[in-house]
């Protein structure tokens, strides 16, 4: 564990999730006051439903959904969700891993409608598909763009396609 990072398994939010869904949690960490809970991909919808509906958790506000690429890991992509509770004023970060050969995860749009655009951006930038999403297509890049997913680590910073012909200083 890196320096400054603590175990978050005794945090009340982790305990609460563990109480209802004992198998869903793979680990929890605290870093600079932020709680991150690692969960199994299959249990994502169950955990999210619990996070929103349980009166002691009440996470009604989706802050952001993003993704991180770890090319060396067996399960390459990490999808990160951050939620806040307006009433109880607490915050949680959910993390779950997605392998490259089965690059798909359940969509949480039915729990938080605001997740729609956030998930579309993750798909656009990292290529992770969201199951049962109402409109799974690119959002910032053009629909016909087929040069890959720019935020993956193997995507060159200067871009692909016609940009390859540019004379960049190397």
């Amino acid at each position: 564990m890196p320096r400054g990072m603590e175990d978050g398994k005794d945090h009340p939010i982790t305990q609460k999730i563990k109480g209802t869904l004992p198998d869903a949690i793979l680990g929890a960490t605290m870093f600079r006051g932020d709680l991150s809970v690692h969960i199994r991909r299959e249990d994502l919808l169950l955990v999210c439903q619990l996070l929103r509906d349980d009166p002691a958790l009440n996470f009604d506000y989706p802050i952001h959904i993003s993704s991180v690429d770890f090319p060396k890991d067996a399960e390459r992509f990490e999808v990160v969700y951050e939620f806040f509770s307006i009433r109880l004023k607490h915050q949680v970060r959910l993390k779950t891993r997605v392998p490259e050969d089965d690059c798909e995860i359940d969509s949480v749009t039915r729990i938080w409608v605001g997740a729609n655009y956030l998930e579309r951006e993750v798909y656009d930038m990292m290529g992770i598909r969201f199951r049962n999403h109402p409109e799974m297509k690119r959002i910032l890049l053009p629909d016909e763009y087929d040069e890959g997913f720019p935020l993956r680590k193997n995507f060159p910073i200067q871009g692909r396609g016609w940009r390859d012909t540019f004379d960049f200083p190397r």
């Binding site: 870093f31 802050i63 990160v80 930038m125």
Partner: protein, 408 residues
């Protein structure tokens, strides 16, 4: 019409009117439209004049700043943040450096916190003035645009005095600020604050008695508090619906917890409420700036952390360690420990957050920008449904949207 058909029509009885064929109309608004404040296209499905569905097409201003961030050092990214929400550059700088400081656990000198708060609130006033002028202009009240830009100009001149730039400021630094206030800035700010409340009343008198403005903002683009929360709206767009969520109160930073101010809340969640919230916020911002100026403590403007914050030039020229630190800092940047944090800041438009993943070293491993304008566009269809085509411009404007931030 042939004679035959005419006869046929005449022969149909008066009480059974011929069935009119209706169909939905697809309209492309943008990408080049003066009221979209940037390049945004919306595909609108219309039934007569009523909006049935609207689909924003984003990405015309996408520059891939999140990808660029992975290839440059932390300090080099500060000027890129200016170009996110180019109307409120100072607040972007603030939000970004705050994220890095949370990662590095930097404690700032008190004077620095006060200076940051003053400049951030001045930037909020500039942002809201800009919004008010352009929103009224879009709706058809042109005069107020000149009034708000007159005040905005005074404040931009203060920024110019402070850092040499008016829009792309890059004044905030990790662990401090770039330059201290000159005596002229304090005087100018006091002078501005002395008359600003009268100016706000002036704007209000121009709009509040304007029947067109009132009927075009009242009950337009209504969103309930619960919906606003579920869509992730933030800033005045959320507080207009009566949800008390302001990061300056929820997790105070800068000097916000040391001064007296309140969070204005709307009730109905319509365009007028969001306008009202922004007007009240300007008054609150003026109050914050005034109190901070009155209590501005003496002291350093940067934390003394030579490995992270650039040492002052007189140290660099006289002292070998500072020279080495300066060289290291400008050639390879500072190291950030391994870990990940999210840090949200209440910008003029809403919650501007940075999710930062570091694996050690001088460059971010991943930097995700949570831009309020992008999240707000997600609620666009919901808020535009059922209104008239003429209202679409009001609905764009009510978010205070800036495409540089939305498309990143």
């Amino acid at each position: 019409m042939t004679l035959n058909a005419q006869q046929e029509e005449q022969s149909t009885p008066k009480n059974s009117l011929p069935l009119l064929r209706t169909e939905e109309l697809l309209l492309n608004l943008g990408p080049q439209h003066p009221s979209t404040h940037g390049v945004l296209k919306v595909i609108i499905t219309l039934e007569g004049e009523k909006i049935v569905k609207s689909e924003p097409v984003l990405g015309y201003l996408h520059r891939g700043v999140e990808k660029i961030a992975e290839s440059i050092t932390y300090n080099q990214f500060i000027p890129h943040t200016d170009r996110l929400d180019y109307v409120c550059a100072m607040y972007n700088n603030f939000a970004y450096v705050r994220a890095i400081e949370k990662m590095l656990k930097i404690e700032l000198p008190e004077r620095c916190e006060y200076l940051r708060t003053i400049v951030a609130e001045v930037q909020r006033i500039i942002g809201h003035l800009f919004w008010l002028g352009t929103q009224a202009l879009d709706i058809g009240a042109m005069t107020i645009f000149f009034f708000t830009f007159r005040e905005r100009e005074v404040l931009l001149d203060i920024f110019e005095e402070l850092c040499g730039a008016r829009l792309t400021t890059s004044w905030y630094r990790v662990g401090g600020v770039e330059r201290d206030f000159t005596p002229k800035i304090g005087d100018e700010l006091y002078k501005f604050l002395g008359t600003f409340s009268e100016k706000i009343d002036e704007y209000d008198s121009l709009l509040h008695n304007n029947r067109i403005w009132m009927s075009r903002t009242r009950d337009i683009a209504v969103i309930s508090g619960d919906d606003a929360v579920a869509y992730g709206l933030s800033g005045p767009a959320l507080r207009g619906s009566g949800v008390d969520y302001d990061l300056r109160k929820v997790s105070p930073y800068g000097a916000y917890d040391k001064v007296e101010w309140t969070v204005p809340l709307g009730t109905k969640g319509d365009t007028y409420d969001r306008y009202w919230v922004r007007m009240e916020e300007m008054k609150e911002s003026a109050k914050i700036v005034k109190q901070c100026l009155d209590r501005l403590p003496e002291g350093e403007i940067r934390a003394y952390l030579p490995q992270i914050v650039a040492p002052s030039k007189d140290r660099v020229f006289t002292d070998m360690e500072s020279m080495i630190y300066q060289f290291k800092l400008y050639s390879s940047g500072f190291n950030v420990p391994e870990g990940d944090i999210y840090c949200g800041t209440e910008a003029a438009k809403g919650e501007l957050g940075f999710y930062l993943v570091s694996q050690g070293g001088g460059k971010p491993y991943r930097l995700k920008i949570r831009a309020p304008s992008f999240v707000h566009m997600g609620a666009f269809d919901h808020m535009a449904k059922g209104y008239m085509i003429a209202d679409i411009i009001t609905i764009f404007g009510t978010y205070d949207i800036v495409m540089g931030e939305c498309d990143r």
